[in-house]
Subunit: 206 residues, 2 copies
């Protein structure tokens, strides 16, 4: 089945399955079932089986899934078997936390370039990396062949930086700035804004 035929909502659940399965594997578990996985995730077992069926046969009725095999297959499907080098733009409080976060490396990503436009930060070192000048961003990202960027700049600067990232050939932007970006449709954007999540919950809290 081609990428275009897989619903994006299904794609969005695969990393959640991968995370839970990886944790099971770390706990020494060898086999699981769609029922057990579903109970852990609050997703129906039928949904999990249907989601995975888009990509092939990963388990047998009655015997469950070999966890390590399914982890490998999901990594392959999500293109995270090898490690992606990622750029980080903006090293305020959040950017620093991301640069120092140790949860990327064993899940397919490593921040290898950091940028900021503050002359007081450019040339200093964060998490062992020199902070590069944002004015060099197009050249640096092209030279390094980076395709994925985390954007942790103020909302007012995010679109302008995004335009330059697109120019540099970036294909995926994880945007922490609380603003929607306009990019060509071949560029993926995902958003992280804690207030969006908080407001989604307060709807239900009275």
């Amino acid at each position: 089945m081609s990428i275009r035929e897989i619903p994006d909502i299904v794609v969005g659940r695969l990393p959640v399955y991968l995370r839970a399965l990886t944790r099971m594997a770390q706990d020494g578990q060898l086999i699981t079932s769609s029922k057990e996985l579903g109970e852990r995730l609050g997703i129906s077992s039928a949904q999990i089986r249907k989601d995975l069926s888009h990509f092939g046969e990963f388990g047998k009725q009655g015997t469950g899934y070999q966890i390590l095999y399914l982890v490998e297959q999901l990594q392959r499907i999500l293109h995270t078997e090898a490690e992606w080098q990622v750029a980080l733009v903006g090293v305020g409080d959040l950017g620093r936390a991301l640069a120092n976060y140790n949860g990327f490396a064993n899940r397919g990503f490593r921040i290898t370039a950091v940028f900021d436009n503050d002359p007081a930060k450019v040339g200093t070192t964060i998490a062992g990396m020199p902070v590069l000048d944002s004015s060099q961003i197009v050249d640096e990202i092209r030279a390094r062949g980076l395709r994925i960027v985390m954007l942790a700049v103020p909302a007012g600067r995010a679109q302008e930086i995004a335009n330059r990232l697109v120019e540099a050939g970036v294909r995926a932007i994880l945007n922490y700035a609380p603003i929607n970006l306009t990019v060509p449709k071949e560029v993926q954007v995902q958003y992280i804004d804690p207030v969006i999540h908080l407001q989604r919950m307060t709807f239900y809290v009275t």
Copy 2:
């Protein structure tokens, strides 16, 4: 229409509409249309009209939406007209960034209590607040009547803390730990894990 009849996917889009409308208002704009809002967000105008129609009539055909009125209505629907006091558990790099983030206050939330279990941090001050001992979390959250918590602790500690938050009467948890939580169904949980978003994008990047 009762809360239970509104699809959660619709609820999830309302904060995104609110964010974009608030930005338009800040830019001095008075009126918008579902078409303009949709173009800004990459959502169809029909979808926006249908989503809003769950909650009432907010605009007239041909004259568009009064932005300030719609902002007020969305704030009312999402229960963010008043400010929620929020607890933060875990003041590592990410927790510190959240405590110092200035993007909560004008969107309905304010962190007013911070907790950590590290004796070296307890009693120090972060963003003007004393770091409280996590061992006091149930009593402190009850005494302050807090209903919303941001959880920024390591994955291995998240479920245990979540259990205590539920015991303390918390109704909504924004979980930054990369692990699924098991909580009673009346407790809302939202997840922020950058790797989940990155992997969702690398699926499309070849």
